[in-house]
Symmetry: C2
Subunit: 188 residues, 2 copies
């Protein structure tokens, strides 16, 4: 490649690191961005960088936030004794879109995966147990994904929290399934 | 959405402006970027913004470059009397990957499209004619895309340059077709 296209090659290289964007898509996007007005590329780059810089983890639940606590944890009315355990912050957003669940969340930040060397100490299970001993929790809803690792993670958590006398289970696939599962959840 | 996710919403909004990235993909990417190390997001944002800022159009052919002339135009050995007319800089990169064509390019920056209000004065046809009167050009290769607009554009250019006594035509689909077409091109 001639050196003139290096900025485009560098753009494509970075874009190809994103999930679901292959080499070809990355190059197509890079050429598109090269042809955009300066202001629009500035807005894109700023949204990504400033956005990432502004985000941290909620000190209570692990959700993304710009403050010490996320919007859910900061809402006193949501402290109703329910904690919904999810894999990541995207699951919180999906649950919030349903406007159905009125309790708090706990974001694990991953799922147990012995194949990938992810053990109980690598996801926020310890933090969940700490919350169960300090917060007034009546019910834990395990809303990990309905795949093998998600179910294994839910089963593991159910086992370690069972002695504490709280718990409930549900299957999680999409928003509709989740809403139905929330209605039909049962005691562990 | 709680205000905590605003940076992610802003990321998703910007990403969704890119071609081929829908609302859902944009949100998925935004959450992915939120979870990346700061350095990696900085590299991505910098590649896009610095890259875009570094690019300008070659003063001769309209290809992307960081200098006054692109790498092809700056190469004296490429001034062999051939000009390959393409729609955009991506086509130049595709041709260069074939390492077959050893002449210069002319990037139109679009195709004629009466439906979208793109007329001959909106793409770099005037600049092509100027080159034909100032550069020593023996052959113009029309390598616009093989769709209706690309072919109409090639036909229009062939008509306006025919009196000048230079020209050749070819069908352009992909790299292989292009290579074959380059071999089999004929006098207009």
């Amino acid at each position: 490649m001639p050196e003139a296209s290096d900025p485009i090659a560098r753009m494509a290289l970075q874009l190809a690191r994103l999930p679901g964007i292959g080499q070809k898509s990355a190059q197509r996007l890079a050429y598109h961005i090269a042809g955009l007005p300066l202001d629009q590329v500035k807005d894109l780059a700023a949204a990504l960088w400033q956005g990432r810089k502004a985000l941290r983890f909620c000190a209570r639940c692990g959700n993304y936030t710009q403050e010490e606590f996320c919007a859910v944890c900061a809402d006193e009315e949501r402290h109703n004794g329910q904690i919904c355990v999810v894999r990541d912050a995207r699951d919180v957003a999906a649950m919030e879109r349903m406007r159905d669940f009125r309790g708090l969340y706990h974001v694990l930040g991953g799922t147990l995966s012995p194949m990938n060397g992810v053990g109980p100490e690598d996801i926020r299970i310890k933090e969940l147990l700490a919350r169960l001993s300090t917060e007034n929790v009546q019910e834990v809803i395990l809303a990990t994904n309905p795949d093998i690792e998600g179910e294994a993670t839910a089963a593991y958590i159910a086992r370690v929290i069972k002695p504490l006398g709280v718990g409930s289970d549900l299957e999680y696939a999409d928003e509709v399934t989740l809403a139905k599962a929330m209605e039909g959840r049962r005691e562990l």
